[in-house]
């Protein structure tokens, strides 16, 4: 099931919320969430829901071992290693086995049959959440979760199950047992949910048509640069829209997830960009990947390469994603070599231009999974296909207001305005609500037209 779907919005979600708020008992509410989450997941993965439950069971049991006061240090180590390896193995088999075998066939003189395993939805997210849990228990940052059901709730909670953000157990451990969504929480969550929906349905989906039109046909300078830039906006609105939906929904249930996006396009360096984009992934790698002893601090550059290799690889089992990760890694390396002080002395407009150029090319790499098409894209960037053509001009002008609105909304314009207004203004609240109702109506309308609506980051 998907969020941007009429069945979810007008049947599943109302049923869930009605059941949830029919009682103030947190145990009842947890049960409602577990049941609805499993139904939600099983709806899209009728078979692999068992894999989810299996993964939860393994991580739970090993978590009990790691967290039990009587276990020896060796046992704990073995358990955490076992859990992490199992999780990564699951991810590796289901997501990367085909890619691995294809590449083995290329490098080695073998011709192994390429496994064609279908990727279970959300596996990239829930395995990482499980890894964060077992490692945090091992490092004694949190108590182990004694209840299987509560642990299942943490992993399978449907707001963040299929598309993130990657929620740390430590962030919501307390709220599993004790949460009380206030009116403010529910109101804020509702606004957030509707904004996220609108970002996805109204902006991201419309931009996707523009991107397809720009990349169809001749790859000119104008179409390559504009296409990649619009694609960057599309991915932002798509992914941040889903994150908003997840965070807002979580808030309605009484959970406080961390932000996943923070207006990434205002960044002046690539390093800053990655602190504002898919924050939960970046912080996951920072906290867990680099802390693992073999990647000691001494090997700075290797660390960097590994982190960015993994960042890229996490996004997809294809070389263009790895290239994308390493591409950003190189820029971050360059920036760290130059040093923050020197960078601060460069005039801001130049830094902005630099960042935008790097990002646009980067998102082009992200778009083209086929290496041949990627090559055409690079050629187009530098003018191999010509400067511009009538079609590109036509598409841009046909969508100029949409693109302008997307650029504007990707900047912290609304939050700036909000800060200028008095904190608790009734007018603001009324305006906000009216706008949201309109957005909800428009989003629902546009969903009638859409045939299918998968979230871009969905294939992970």
């Amino acid at each position: 099931m998907l969020f941007a779907d009429l069945f979810f919005l007008f049947l599943f979600l109302p049923l869930c919320l009605t059941a949830y708020f029919s009682s103030k008992n947190v145990k009842w509410r947890n049960l409602v969430l577990i049941v609805f989450s499993l139904v939600f997941y099983a709806w899209g993965e009728p078979f692999y829901v068992l894999l989810l439950i299996l993964s939860v069971a393994i991580n739970y049991l090993l978590g009990r071992v790691i967290g039990s006061p009587s276990a020896s240090q060796t046992k704990k180590k073995a358990a955490v290693l076992g859990a992490v390896i199992t999780d990564l193995a699951l991810l590796g088999v289901f997501k990367y086995s085909g890619f691995l075998v294809e590449n083995l066939n290329l490098i080695l003189p073998v011709d192994l049959p390429v496994p064609a395993i279908r990727l279970p939805i959300g596996i990239s997210f829930y395995t990482f959440q499980a890894i964060s849990y077992v490692i945090d228990v091992y490092w004694e940052r949190t108590e182990m979760q004694k209840s299987f059901w509560k642990f299942l709730l943490y992993i399978s909670m449907f707001p963040q199950l299929i598309a993130g953000p990657i929620v740390r157990y430590t962030d919501i451990a307390a709220e599993i047992d004790d949460r009380n969504p206030t009116v403010d929480d529910i109101y804020a969550g509702m606004i957030r949910v509707i904004c996220g929906l609108a970002k996805k349905v109204i902006i991201a989906n419309s931009l996707s048509t523009v991107v397809e039109s720009l990349f169809a046909g001749q790859m000119t300078v104008l179409s390559a640069w504009t296409g990649a830039a619009v694609f960057a906006l599309q991915v932002y609105f798509d992914f941040s829209g889903y994150s908003d939906f997840a965070i807002g929904l979580g808030r309605i249930f009484g959970f406080h997830f961390n932000e996943n996006f923070n207006y990434p396009f205002v960044s002046t360096t690539i390093g800053e960009f990655w602190q504002r984009w898919h924050i939960s992934l970046g912080s996951f790698f920072r906290d867990y990947l680099l802390m693992i002893p073999i990647f000691g601090k001494r090997r700075g550059y290797l660390n960097l390469f590994i982190v960015w290799f993994c960042t890229g690889l996490w996004h997809g089992a294809s070389w263009n994603f790895i290239l994308w990760g390493v591409y950003f890694g190189l820029f971050i390396l360059a920036e760290s070599l130059i040093g923050k002080k020197k960078l601060k002395r460069v005039p801001r407009p130049l830094m902005h231009i630099y960042t935008k150029l790097v990002l646009i090319v980067g998102f082009g790499i992200f778009y083209f999974e086929d290496i041949g098409a990627l090559g055409t894209f690079f050629g187009g960037l530098v003018g191999v296909g010509g400067l511009y053509n009538k079609l590109t001009m036509n598409v841009i002008v046909n969508n100029c207001f949409l693109i302008a609105a997307a650029i504007l909304l990707s900047l912290p314009v609304l939050s700036y305005l909000r800060r200028k207004l008095p904190a608790e203004s009734r007018t603001l609240v009324i305006c906000e609500s009216v706008c949201c109702v309109v957005l909800l109506f428009l989003s629902a309308t546009m969903l009638v037209n859409a045939t299918n609506n998968p979230f871009l980051y969905f294939r992970w």
Partner: protein
């Protein structure tokens, strides 16, 4: 503040709940008139369908596809999209995914459409091609002074003053051709481009017969007219220039597709294949088209003629589409020339298949409403001019438009809106669909399913009331076998093999043929040749638009060889 927020939360919740309940309770539509397709139905449950995920995704599809009042919401979405930007020159280009849908039934071939693949049975007739060398001699301009000249006493080719040769001269007969001299040993030629060779003879004395003939091997790469060679098809060929006494010289020719065909360079093949352009209030599909596919089409029609033993007149009607006449000039580079294609087919049909010239009458009447604005089809008026041209070619009587009754369906919004673009400009500018029914001939129409079963009698012109259904007035659709039996008394029987463009033609011909059978390229299931023979047809008309005749799908051959 808290109260306000509580109220708002309650209000939104009630709204969403109300919509949710309505969506569960309201009756759901099962068929979309606008899109002309049945809407999703609730999936059937089975263990397999559940485990594969089809059951649950089917529920979603059902729920989303059958939203009550879906047309209203789809229209609204189109109107919202108007806010996205401006239309320079009133033009908007759409690039629908997955093709323009005019070619149904076959997958796209991924091979290069211009690659040389001669269909097995074909002997394409080339314009001006000498069928054998004698004919070439007749058309030879060699007898004129200019190209082959002999300067008295001197050789025109580089020649050595070889004493031995000089000696030979004295003992040579009256006139001998020593060599044929041409100005090139290799020629690179673009398709549709010509080159005229400079041909001279090196001779002694005055030979009587100074004719030079050119043959090409293989013959279908170029066409030859005198000393002018024209590129037809990509490939290599060797020209042999033969003098009357058997002396020859050769020249190799490489023919390639002109990347800047003087139609205006079709810079963007993807767009030409799939693009839709809206100019003002008219929507049109841009045209790509392939000469190779045209050759396959023509060869197939020749095969139909042969299969019918030469006893049935076979006609080819290739109908140009709206973009040929109404595409704005500034976008012409995205649109290949259908005129060139139609002329190419006219010039290259085998002598057995008769060409019906419809491009000219359509272009002459293009200021009239001969093409629909919101649909990919032509208007019934356009079909009238084409039917008239066909009747002239076939030599049958034809009723003038004044003898028909005109019917108007207002507010028509065709496929260009509902299927391809949902463009708000089209929504705001629906058109009048005007069709004509004959008055001075009586006729009966019977239908069968494409497999030949289920015979029933009905009307030919079926009244349509929905916003998008007007073009289905003709026979109610495509997937059937139609037989119209008339009191025309001409002794002629016609079979029409068509796609949906052809639907608009038969109504004008009820006074011209005693029986008209109409079968569809995409749906007909029986053995075509046998079917045609059994009807006792005197005439067989292929009526399709350029997209079908020159597109990648080889529907014509498939239909010819299919067995019941």
């Amino acid at each position: 503040m808290k109260t306000l927020k509580t109220v708002i939360i309650a209000a939104v919740s009630c709204l969403v709940l109300a919509v949710g309940v309505l969506l569960c309770v309201l009756p759901r539509p099962t068929y979309s008139d606008t899109e002309k397709r049945p809407l999703a139905s609730f999936p059937t449950f089975s263990v397999e369908s559940y485990l594969s995920g089809d059951f649950t995704s089917g529920i979603n599809a059902y729920y989303n596809d059958t939203i009550p009042g879906r047309d209203f919401f789809k229209d609204l979405t189109g109107r919202i999209s108007k806010l996205f930007g401006l239309r320079p020159d009133d033009v908007k280009i759409y690039i629908p995914n997955g093709g323009n849908g005019l070619l149904e039934g076959d997958e796209e071939t991924t091979e290069d459409p211009y690659a040389v693949t001669m269909p097995e049975d074909a002997e394409p007739a080339l314009p001006n091609a000498p069928k054998d060398t004698e004919e070439a001699t007749d058309t030879e301009p060699v007898d004129t002074e200019a190209p082959v000249t002999e300067e008295p006493g001197t050789d025109t080719a580089p020649v050595t003053n070889d004493p031995a040769e000089t000696e030979d001269i004295e003992t040579e007969p009256v006139g001998t051709i020593l060599a044929v001299v041409i100005d090139k040993t290799h020629l690179d030629l673009y398709t549709d481009r010509e080159y005229t060779f400079d041909v001279r003879l090196r001779q002694q004395g005055t030979p009587e017969d100074r004719t030079v003939t050119i043959t090409a091997d293989p013959p279908y790469i170029v066409s030859i007219d005198g000393f002018t060679v024209r590129g037809i098809q990509q490939g290599e060929t060797t020209l042999t220039f033969s003098a009357a006494n058997g002396v020859t010289t050769t020249c190799t020719v490489s023919v390639t597709i002109d990347p800047n065909r003087d139609t205006g360079a079709v810079v963007d093949d993807y767009l030409a294949q799939y693009g839709v352009i809206i100019s003002g209030t008219r929507a049109m599909s841009l045209y790509g088209g392939s000469y190779n596919s045209a050759r396959t089409y023509m060869a197939s029609l020749e095969s139909y003629y042969q299969d019918l033993g030469g006893e049935v007149n076979v006609y080819s009607m290739v109908i140009p589409t709206a973009s040929e006449f109404y595409c704005p000039d500034s976008y012409a580079s995205y649109n290949a020339s259908q005129q060139k294609m139609c002329n190419y087919i006219r010039d290259n049909l085998s002598g057995n298949v008769r060409h019906v010239e419809v491009y000219t009458p359509l272009s002459e009447h293009c200021d009239e409403d001969i093409y629909l604005r919101t649909d990919h089809h032509w208007a019934p008026l356009g079909a009238y001019y084409a039917a008239k041209a066909f009747a002239e070619t076939a030599g049958v009587p034809f009723a003038d438009l004044s003898t028909f009754d005109a019917h108007v369906i207002e507010g028509f919004l065709g496929t260009m809106y509902s299927v391809y673009t949902q463009d708000p400009i089209l929504l705001e500018n629906p058109e009048d669909f005007v069709y004509y029914t004959p008055t001075n001939v009586s006729y009966t129409t019977t239908y069968q399913k494409p497999d030949g079963t289920g015979l029933y009698t009905s009307a030919f012109f079926i009244p349509m009331s929905s916003r998008g259904g007007a073009y289905c007035t003709f026979m109610g659709g495509d997937d059937k076998i139609t037989h119209v039996s008339t009191q025309a008394g001409t002794g002629r029987k016609l079979v029409i093999i068509k796609e949906s463009f052809g639907n608009a033609l038969p109504g004008y011909l009820f006074g011209s043929f005693d029986d008209i059978y109409i079968i569809d390229l995409r749906y007909f299931e029986l053995n075509t040749i046998e079917f045609i023979k059994e009807t006792g047809a005197t005439d067989l008309l292929f009526a399709t638009c350029t997209f079908t005749a020159t597109g990648p799908a080889s529907l014509f051959e498939r239909m010819r060889v299919q067995a019941p």
